[in-house]
């Protein structure tokens, strides 16, 4: 029987709302899928699209971004920036062949621990359905280069 594919997901959570929500879920011992590696940002507005690309290029199968509900951002309106970046990033990824469903933006307040846990579990299943991404580790491909070097030394 083949092993079930376990998605690797990186989750960027904002400190004030969604990270606390994840905390709440933890203290309430709410079960949710362990596939998400959480990284805390002070604000979802801190999310640089570079982080998402680095995650996917580094082996993640999906990226989750969570922040405060619109209007509730601890820094007033930075989560709108996250929203706009997210939407533009998703379009760009479509052009690169990355399914739009591999990145997701969720608003969650500190009190919504159970809801967040549910969303995380659901996202893991969505990624499981999409399958592994397996983006090539471009920098770890020395063999081709060495072989060519040998070939050049032979002809020179």
């Amino acid at each position: 029987m083949s092993e079930q594919f376990e998605p690797v997901i990186v989750g960027f959570t904002c400190n004030w709302c969604s990270y606390r929500a994840a905390d709440t879920a933890g203290t309430a011992r709410v079960k949710y899928a362990p596939n998400v590696r959480l990284i805390r940002l002070m604000c979802s507005g801190r999310l640089d699209p570079t982080f998402v690309m680095k995650a996917l290029a580094g082996g993640a199968d999906g990226v989750l971004i969570t922040g405060c509900h619109p209007g509730d951002c601890h820094y007033i309106d930075q989560n709108y920036k996250a929203l706009r970046r997210f939407l533009l990033l998703r379009r760009t990824f479509t052009g690169l062949g990355i399914e739009p469903g591999r990145i997701k933006l969720i608003w969650a307040s500190a009190a919504e621990g159970m809801r967040l846990a549910h969303e995380i579990t659901q996202f893991v299943e969505e990624i499981r359905t999409l399958g592994p991404l397996n983006w090539p580790k471009w920098n770890e491909q020395p063999i081709e280069v060495e072989a060519l070097d040998e070939a050049v030394k032979e002809t020179a």
């Binding site: 929203l83 533009l88 760009t92 062949g97 280069v145 050049v152």
Partner: protein
């Protein structure tokens, strides 16, 4: 036998624009000729590959290498010139970040062949594609194998300096020529290895004379819908996607001064990890909308975000290629 230091310039998968940019330093080319012995420069003189192979390792003081690694011959000559050169400069956008032909990384190489040899005007009933090795009655003919992805020079060999631009502007090339001659004369030091030379540290916006205000964009426009633009006002502010905010300075913002948006040929500004990511951030921050539906409607004004954000830089970006280029499962 001249004992002037040796100079070489080579084009891998290139368009030749970098060669022209070097020649556009006009009279200054005489300084190059006065201070160097040009030993290999296929556009200009008749030295062949075997002449380079016969040179001693490290005997060429300075090699300007333009063009990307599209096929195995490009890589072979990159390795060859790296061995024969003391200082190897990744010259121009193709060598440094893949440039526009790097967009081929959005597709599998097989599709390049499928399209090229079956265009509207191509008569190819036997579905012939060029092959690396072919027997003719007289012997075997070979052509270089295409790599599955376009690579930059630094992804293949160790590079000493990077000079961005498509092509590098001639006043910058002239400045670098002056610097090198000063170094030869002991009057200046070479910058640290790995530096970007012949360009600025900031962004194109810094060099652009247009007025910039706080930007609140309600729509992105294609330039032909709104041309000619107000010549005094920031192009991005007028809703035309201009890549100035993420692009390295050094070109003097010539395109915006001529009424056209910056398309990003000087590559990422200092400190930018992924050029496309930086532009996504910049464009997202000026959109004046909060509702997803309205934001999406505004984003419809950029119909090709992948090309807009990775036009020159795809081969050197974090993701380096589109999925169909490498994914064997046909995604």
């Amino acid at each position: 036998m001249s004992d002037k230091p040796k100079f070489a310039m080579y084009w891998a998968a290139s368009c030749g624009g970098c060669e022209i940019a070097v020649l556009n330093i006009h009279e200054k080319i005489l300084d190059v000729d006065a201070n160097f012995d040009v030993v290999f420069w296929p556009v200009a003189m008749d030295a062949k590959y075997k002449d380079v192979e016969e040179m001693e390792d490290g005997s060429i003081l300075l090699t300007l290498f333009n063009g990307s690694m599209r096929n195995q011959e490009n890589e072979k000559i990159a390795h060859l010139l790296r061995r024969k050169s003391k200082i190897l400069v990744s010259f121009g956008s193709c060598a440094t970040e893949g440039c526009i032909p790097g967009l081929a990384n959005l597709f599998p190489v097989s599709e390049i062949f499928d399209v090229a040899y079956h265009t509207a005007s191509t008569d190819n009933p036997d579905n012939i594609h060029p092959v690396p090795s072919f027997e003719v009655p007289e012997g075997t003919l070979t052509i270089p194998i295409m790599n599955p992805t376009v690579k930059t020079l630094a992804q293949v060999v160790d590079v000493d300096y990077f000079m961005p631009g498509c092509p590098p502007e001639s006043h910058q090339i002239a400045a670098v020529v002056d610097l090198v001659i000063q170094v030869l004369q002991g009057k200046a030091q070479l910058p640290p290895k790995g530096s970007v030379i012949g360009a600025g540290q900031s962004t194109v916006c810094d060099e652009c004379p247009r007025t910039r205000n706080v930007k609140l964009i309600k729509a992105f426009h294609r330039i032909q819908e709104v041309a000619p633009l107000d010549p005094a006002l920031c192009i991005l502010e007028q809703g035309v996607p201009c890549n100035g905010p993420a692009t390295r300075s050094g070109c003097m913002a010539r395109c915006p001064q001529a009424g056209a948006q910056c398309i990003g040929c000087y590559g990422p500004a200092e400190g930018v990890v992924d050029y496309g990511a930086r532009l996504i951030t910049a464009f997202a921050s000026i959109i004046d909308a909060r509702e997803p539906a309205e934001i999406e409607s505004i984003l419809d004004g950029i119909p090709d975000p992948t090309g807009q954000f990775y036009r020159f830089n795809l081969a050197d970006s974090l993701l380096r290629a589109g999925r169909s280029n490498w994914d064997k499962d046909g995604h």
